[in-house]
């Protein structure tokens, strides 16, 4: 395995118009997604959003109602799961309790009729990769959750599949272990060059691991992009709220020319461009784009200003985090640097931001449902 050919080992995935219905319920609604060979793609979304259904469809555990699915350019819709040659890692590990770690990892190789010598070599290599080589003779019940998941990972990659699916593999582990294993998974992805499709509901995990993220909501993909794209340029309010922290402002809107402005509790702000389709606008602001200022200092040119009261002030070491309750009752989240003037709870302050840092999006009541 030289570094130059690792990228060729993964397969491209093409999901086209995938739809899955259970009676009246639509679990997947016309989902299309292209995944590059060797890419680390995360399917992110709340529970019931269709991300796990998508993974199960690719693995062959669930049939599509309509649509097509191709791996490496070949349609695999008609293939049963056991003929797809795709590695799968489950949240619940799914190690065979009656086999040792070594036997578990050798299982897919035995099925492929590989002789013992070649098998043993690959098993050792796979266990080495997950740092579990010393545990080959143990039974799964003698291992911790994190160790079991590493063995499950070794078993899923030992037969060198061009695609590895992972269904919330770290969901059952504690935070510290999860963070460490995230880095391990990232390293293994780099070493193997296999295409990884990873399902999670944890946006931080998605940001740490992924080349690109597909955000799922109610059986549809809301947006696909890198973590940075999703954070800086969300195309829907749902994506904006699901990735990172944000403040959303609503008010009476006026459009003049190419500019929309909102009036919030008597104060007028410039919201940016113009929404297509005449939908109700909402202004979205990331915490680090906001700053607090004394009401006495005037706002700079190109800055918006809204008056509110500090309702929470948290010192974070690297800076401070404030909650500011605005006059219309909405709450803004502000992250300020160490150099910024500190404020205390109860202070009346002006919330300031540059017009260019605000994101104008169409309002969507569905977006709030998931945050509960």
């Amino acid at each position: 395995m030289s570094a130059s050919n690792t990228r060729e080992r993964g397969a491209a995935i093409d999901i086209k118009g995938a739809t899955k219905r259970y009676g009246n319920f639509t679990a997947l609604d016309d989902v299309s997604l292209h995944i590059e060979p060797g890419e680390f793609m995360t399917l992110l979304g709340p529970s019931g959003s269709g991300k796990t259904t998508t993974l199960n469809v690719v693995a062959g555990f669930t049939d599509l109602t309509s649509g097509d699915l191709a791996v490496g350019g070949k349609s695999i819709v008609a293939l049963p799961a056991h003929k797809r040659n795709i590695g799968v890692v489950f949240q619940h590990y799914a190690l065979f309790p009656h086999m040792t770690v070594g036997k578990n990892v050798a299982y897919p190789l035995t099925l492929r009729g590989m002789d013992k010598q070649a098998r043993d070599r690959l098993v050792v290599r796979a266990l080495d990769m997950v740092k579990m080589a010393d545990f080959a003779h143990r039974y799964p019940s003698e291992l911790s959750g994190g160790q079991q998941q590493r063995v499950a990972l070794a078993r899923a990659i030992v037969f060198d599949p061009p695609l590895l699916l992972m269904d919330e593999p770290l969901g059952a582990l504690d935070k510290k272990l999860r963070e460490w294993l995230q880095l391990e998974i990232k390293r293994i992805h780099r070493e193997l060059g296999t295409t990884f499709v990873y399902v999670t509901h944890d946006q931080e995990e998605a940001l740490v691991l992924s080349d690109r993220i597909a955000v799922f909501n109610q059986g549809r993909i809301e947006q696909v992009g890198t973590g940075r794209q999703l954070y800086d340029e969300p195309t829907t309010l749902f994506v904006a709220k699901f990735i990172g922290e944000s403040t959303s402002l609503r008010g009476a809107a006026q459009t003049s020319g190419n500019e929309t402005s909102l009036t919030i509790a008597g104060q007028k702000i410039v919201a940016g461009g113009k929404l297509a389709g005449g939908r109700k606008p909402v202004v979205l602001l990331r915490p680090e784009k906001l700053s607090l200022a004394s009401t006495k200092t005037p706002a700079a040119a190109g800055q918006n200003s809204l008056t509110g009261e500090v309702s929470e002030a948290i010192y974070l070491g690297s800076g401070s985090k404030y909650q500011v309750t605005l006059r219309d009752g909405s709450v803004a989240i502000v992250r300020s640097s160490l150099e910024a003037t500190p404020f205390s709870i109860g202070d009346t302050v002006d919330l300031r931001w540059s017009v260019v840092d605000a994101k104008l999006l169409a309002d969507d009541d569905r977006a709030d449902m998931t945050m509960t």
Partner: protein, 262 residues
């Protein structure tokens, strides 16, 4: 220490119940070494003659081998059918699964004598009375519920998701069953097999109805022997069966408790 008298009383009561439950069984052990040809208790003297009689008398021996043969066939047939039924029931999503399970369990609940009458009536028509086939069919029906209960218990703790994992690793359904499902539910199947064997081996009610002079099972031979004359050979046979079934059932219980713990 105020409770001491109460505790002693409770202990005595428990001992009484235990004696009451076990005594009728244990009483045959000393009786089987009786010197005289009588079923009187307490027995007098000591001799191995009734054991000797069991192993030399062709009536006793042939009935013993009949029982072994029937019970062996029943164990295999009931285990096969019962295991397949349990697997089917556990995979059934339909609400009728519960009803179907109840129907399969009924031979355990229906009074034996009622079953025996029905079986006898049908067997007369089909000339199955006094045949090995007749015994095996009837006893298999009686043994299937025991297999279903034992196998279902191990399927209850079997994680079906392992089968999905096996499929993802390249195993077709039969290979998955052979390499994953079967080894994990094997303890349940084995204990079902032992229960099925014992169910047939000591079954008397149905056997009395469908027996013939040419095919007697051991329990039938014991019953006819003790009603015709007071032959203490029955106590020797009883002792042998008692020890054998105790060992088999204990083995079955140990195996099944092991499987549910893991």
């Amino acid at each position: 220490m105020r409770q001491a008298p109460f505790r002693i009383l409770l202990g005595l009561f428990c001992l009484l119940v235990a004696v009451w439950l076990v005594m009728p069984t244990l009483v045959i052990i000393p009786m089987s070494f009786n010197e005289k040809k009588s079923l009187a208790f307490p027995p007098s003297g000591f001799s191995w003659q009734w054991y000797e009689n069991f192993f030399t008398n062709p009536d006793w021996l042939s009935s013993f081998f009949n029982s072994l043969r029937v019970a062996g066939l029943v164990a295999v047939a009931a285990t096969l059918i019962g295991t397949l039924a349990s697997l089917g029931l556990s995979r059934m999503k339909h609400s009728g699964a519960g009803l179907l399970r109840a129907i399969l369990i009924t031979p355990m609940i229906v009074p034996g004598v009622v079953l025996a009458i029905g079986i006898y009536a049908v067997y007369l028509d089909y000339q199955l009375v006094g045949t090995t086939t007749g015994f095996v069919i009837a006893h298999t029906m009686l043994a299937i519920p025991f297999v279903i209960i034992a196998v279902s218990a191990s399927l209850e703790v079997f994680d079906v998701r392992l089968e999905t994992a096996a499929a993802s690793l390249g195993a077709d359904r039969f290979t998955t069953f052979r390499t994953v499902t079967l080894p994990l539910i094997a303890p349940g199947i084995l204990s079902g097999l032992l229960f099925a064997f014992v169910t047939s081996f000591d079954e008397i009610i149905v056997a009395l109805f469908i027996t013939s002079p040419y095919l007697k099972t051991l329990p039938v031979q014991i019953f006819t022997s003790i009603t015709r004359d007071a032959d203490p050979t029955v106590t020797a046979v009883g002792t042998i069966i008692f020890i054998a079934t105790t060992l088999i059932i204990s083995a079955g219980l140990i195996i099944s408790s092991k499987s549910t713990r893991s």
